[in-house]
């Protein structure tokens, strides 16, 4: 059993981003970059499956800049066995990523792909579903529980009304939700060990990947700011203001 875990280098979730003055995008210069949190959950889940004897190999892959090797090293410090970087300065859209991942899946032949349900930068929530479509595989999105048994995956999904359980034949794509697990902190020895694990660098051309965009970003602006509110001194004042000023209580 081999598990492929696609990950993405994104602005760290603690950073509050700012829109560039010319409204051409978000300023990502000199901000802390990390593994997309949902992808970190995906790595952790794959590593746990390996540790419990249900998987033999965990391969982390990413598409991105040279420095995205840092995120692959993080994945390997958590426990991935090796990493693959498809090196590009273009930030490809989900469909192009899915097509490139399909080529990687055909090369690596994993039994299971575990990936984050969305990246916290573009918030698209598409790539896993698109990859499943391109491969004709089963998909289990927004998973909060995953069990592998006799060539099948049982997953519990977080849906709007509560939880849903699906049985997926393998190979399959699983996308992670927040409560699937709590990723570990990589220990120093494991961080050192990760530096020696194999990391292959591919060019998009090696996979016939086409990253030309289908969407044109015309503008990126700040969201509407809320007017500064007031502090009220007491419950009485709060109720009074909600009734007479905001008129949201009768």
């Amino acid at each position: 059993m081999k598990i492929l875990v696609p990950i993405k280098r994104v602005v760290d979730y603690n950073v509050k981003v700012h829109v560039k003055a010319d409204e051409s995008g978000v300023d990502t210069a000199n901000v802390k970059m990390s593994v997309n949190p949902f992808d970190e959950i995906a790595i952790e889940e794959a590593v746990r499956l390996k540790e419990s004897g249900k998987a033999d190999e965990v391969v982390a892959v990413t598409i991105g800049v040279t420095k995205a090797q840092e995120q692959l090293r993080t994945a390997m410090a958590i426990g991935a066995d090796r990493g693959i970087l498809v090196e590009t300065d273009i930030a490809p859209e989900p469909l192009a990523v899915a097509k490139c991942l399909k080529a990687l899946v055909e090369r690596e032949r994993p039994d299971l792909v575990i990936m984050g349900k969305q990246a916290i930068d573009d918030d698209f929530n598409q790539t896993g579903q698109m990859l499943a479509a391109l491969l004709g595989w089963a998909q289990g999105t927004f998973a909060s529980k995953l069990q592998l048994e006799s060539g099948q995956a049982t997953i519990t999904r977080e849906v709007d009304g509560g939880l849903e359980t699906l049985l997926l034949p393998l190979p399959a794509i699983v996308t992670t939700d927040l409560r699937l697990n709590e990723p570990r902190y990589a220990s120093l020895p494991n961080i050192m060990k990760a530096k020696k694990k194999p990391l292959d660098v591919l060019k998009p051309g090696d996979l016939d990947a086409d990253f030309s965009p289908r969407l044109e970003t015309l503008k990126v602006r700040e969201p509407a700011r809320r007017k500064a509110g007031v502090k009220v001194a007491s419950v009485d004042e709060l109720i009074h203001k909600l009734k007479t000023e905001a008129k949201v209580l009768s």
Partner: protein, 309 residues
Amino acid sequence: MSTLVIAEHDNVTLAPATLNCLTAAQKIGGDIDFLVAANDGGSVAEEAAMAAGVRKVLKADSPAYEHPVAENLAPLIARLASEYTHILAPATTFGKNILPRAAGLLDVQMISDVTAIVAPDTFERPIYAGNAIATVRSKDARILLTIRSTAFDPAAAGGGNAVIENIDATSDAGLSRFVKAELSESDRPELGTAGIVVSGGRGVGSAENFSLIEQLADRLGAAVGASRAAVDAGFVPNDYQVGQTGKIVAPELYIAIGISGAIQHLAGMKDSKVIVAINKDEEAPIFEVADYGLVEDLFKAVPDILEKL
């Protein structure tokens, strides 16, 4: 131009988010059809046919559509796509699961979580947990969108008289199999569409204490929400979560109790009309977005409100 709106339903009634999606379709312009793919979805199709401004309702019945399994629904959407310039679904867990799969089959770069229609090919959507709003133009021949419900008012549920057309179902893909659903039963309004939402966070402290939040919600006829911290701590189930990756809400009144206000939570509620924050930490970031902030221990403030309302 013509738009296909994918109806979300439980085989009996139409989910409210479908009507918000219909409003977005009306803003695009052109003819609008609904797709009701269900297991015996007659009542859903009739309800859809009554919605304002719908040309026809395509009704596909199959046991394979009993549960919204993406592997079964996406091929049906893809088969119908050639008749339409736009295909829309609500940006709920239903739409987010199925539409990208259809987009993959159709070789379309879909656009998620649309909050404004600028032109038939140009849309606004939040990125970075709503800290920026991107305007994007699609260069694809066909446009697939998921629609954020809070950004569009629901279309009128009555007044329409669309034709219901039975269409062939696709065969069962034989991939994912539905096992079970554990859905929260509640008499409270639905979180995504409630007029008032009362949410609790880590400060509430325990599942038992959360009954205080629920009492206040019930007094106000409100839905109950929660921060990620409260869900992770096991105070409430996952479907209570408001935030970047949970539910997006925009009620008339949002009361945040014991919630510090991480940006991921703010992303899910900052478009509420009036925001009240109750927190004993006066430095909590939630106060930066609150219209009315009360710095007080929630275990004193909430019983006090219950007594005085």
